[in-house]
Symmetry: C2
Subunit: 281 residues, 2 copies
């Protein structure tokens, strides 16, 4: 996208972000969003937000593989996952790969590897499963014949329920500390960022399900793993979302693809749910 | 060192490397070893090697922590470890950290982490222990919110006995393949390099032990984890080595340190073993 982060318009509308922040975002060429809006004649004088919304509905591809796997065209979105991110640093001691016996080693990468496996196990001990991802890792000195003295990796954990996410957080810390003890290394866990979960209005979700039923479209309940404008609007009005399947769960990528009939079904549900809410159905 | 790799002089002497290879090695400034020898008047006409050696003895710091840990000043070196190095590539599938459920993932880093733990286990299943080290790892795309689609890491395995090292090789492959199967990823194992083990002449080792006994110096048998000139000379003559302790096993580093009394003990043993071999003791 030209001006990051995403959903900045809806975030500004509901007062999560001040207008100055959004207008001051720059693109890759150093142009601010305010300058770009003025250049196309869209920099108006009216205040942002502040007027009432009866309800907000948004249709979107799932950006995940669940509806495609289950062969269901409509997802009734109940909410969006909360997220907690961490940076974990494991400290051991560098040593020569040829001369340091196994039983004297303090191998930071071995400790990190066991933690990565243990964190995966934590995800499966909570039902329904949270998602826990280690996406980045870096070791020092990163030399073929030196036992790593330090390994640092990221953790991204998400779950629709903030209470479960807090329990997952506790279990992850305990798992890493247990691994550190038995692996003769030390671990430090830095909290990087958090995002609270969003629960959509139950009546909005029920209305999406009713519209799908009316159109004879199979549906199932689902949570969003990504952020959306509706997650911001839910702070200011009753909000709901409709998901449709996409190929392989891929999005924001040249491979992103959805079938025309699924997109049409999503639009049809959106039309019916809006008409019902507006009292014109 | 200015001209790598190490022990190139002894390797040339015993015919392991041709003189042209050594003379053609360049330093960081592009100067060849041949040019550097000519500049200081050391580029002679005599052939390298080809004359008989009665025996070769070398004294060296251990470059490992064993003698220091055990409080023993003299190591009677029985040989040098063989080495096999590998590059292991684990392929899974990239996915979104928020939207792809745990049970549908093909996480390359999770597979690699389990392999790293399993390889450590392989080392402890062989006695006396080989050393197995994973020193480098790299994941793709290395993004906090993307499940890694690929992870590549190095393996350095060493043992004094080439047969054990071959068995370790087989066990490591089996362990990685078993992890790949249960982790829903694929693995490819590329052999990068090998170095055969060296066994020093038993009579030379016995002579080192006798000299230590004569000097009332405690000694123990040990294997070298690193390469030395004596490993090359063992191809051309009876050879032996004497190790002395060094602080923390650290070498080729500003922290390298050995106690004067240990260095003196090593030199004393070297003197006595040479004198005995020369028939002048």
């Amino acid at each position: 996208m030209r001006f990051g982060p995403g959903t900045i318009g809806s975030g500004t509308f509901v007062g999560r972000t001040s207008p100055d922040v959004g207008l001051g975002r720059t693109d890759g060429g150093g142009i601010t969003m305010g300058q770009a809006l003025a250049a196309i004649g869209y920099a108006g004088e009216a205040p942002v937000g502040g007027y009432p919304i009866e309800a907000f509905f948004e249709a979107h591809i799932e950006q995940g593989p669940i509806l495609e796997r289950d062969g269901v065209p409509i997802g009734v979105v109940l909410g969006a996952q909360g997220q907690r991110c961490f940076r974990i640093v494991v400290d051991g001691e560098e040593g020569h790969a040829g001369t340091l016996p196994m039983e004297l080693r303090r191998d930071a990468l071995l400790g990190a590897a066991r933690m990565i496996d243990a964190l995966n196990g934590v995800a499966f001990r909570h039902a329904p499963h949270p998602v826990i991802t280690v996406g980045q890792i870096q070791v020092r000195p990163n030399s073929r014949n030196t036992i790593p003295g330090q390994a640092a990796f990221t953790v991204d954990s998400r779950h629709p329920d903030d209470g479960t996410l807090a329990a997952v957080d506790r279990d992850m810390r305990a798992a890493c500390e247990e691994v550190a003890r038995r692996s003769n290394v030390t671990v430090s866990i830095e909290h990087v960022s958090s995002r609270r979960s969003v629960s959509f209005d139950p009546e909005c979700a029920a209305a999406v399900a009713r519209a799908a039923d009316k159109l004879d479209l199979p549906w199932q309940e689902i949570y969003s793993g990504a952020g959306h404008d509706a997650c911001n609007l839910a702070l200011a009005a009753p909000a709901g979302m409709i998901f449709v399947p996409c190929a392989g769960g891929v999005s924001h990528n040249e491979r992103e693809s959805a079938r025309p009939e699924d997109l049409a079904a999503g639009c049809d549900v959106l039309l019916h749910v809006m008409a019902e809410r507006a009292g014109v159905a």
